[in-house]
Amino acid sequence: MLEARALSLCELTEGQSVVIELSIDDAQMRQFAELSGDFNPLHTDDAFARGKGFKGRVVYGALLVAKVSQLIGMRLPGKNSVWASLTWEFLEPLYVDQAVQLEAVVSSISASTGLVELKLTLRRDGKKLSKGRAEVLVVD
């Protein structure tokens, strides 16, 4: 089992960042379809997706949000934190097996409350595909 980091509030600074490399493969897409019950052919059928003007099956947006969960829970800030909010905007589609980078940057820290705001960006070859913000409560 992977071990989560455990950054405390005093170890966080504005501008601190973490990047995780990821790609969503066919097995993850099938597992997510089963888990979510979302069998929309836009995500399961290449021909259907191409017929709608996409280059192939579009990765589930919520599967990308699951990777945000991984980043927060395992890396920044890690296991001393609980997710309090998320806003997320999909700008461009991500396709199966494409390599992307998910970055979180600490944008503000409230020392009195432990509330930390993260600016989130998903990029492929430097191009922004999704962006958002998350609030995380750090409980030391």
Binding site: S108, A111, S112, T113, G114, L115, E135, L137
Partner: protein, 81 residues
Amino acid sequence: MDSQAHYATLTDVFHDVFDDDTIVVTPELTASDVDEWDSLRHIRLVAAIEKKYRLSFSAAEIARLKNVGQFVSLIEAKSAR
């Protein structure tokens, strides 16, 4: 900024944090007067006020506050430094 202006600013913050435009922010207002003022909402409120005024409070300063009037006094004291 005078006290009246602080209450106007805090009214906007309260309306946004609690998503309730009917809240009237007075010096006597406390958590027991607002239904949804729970611990997480309290954290959001303090963080939103810090951001709005570009101030940082300590946990001890926040713990000592009994009502909004005391919060305004804290904001005024911090802003004057």
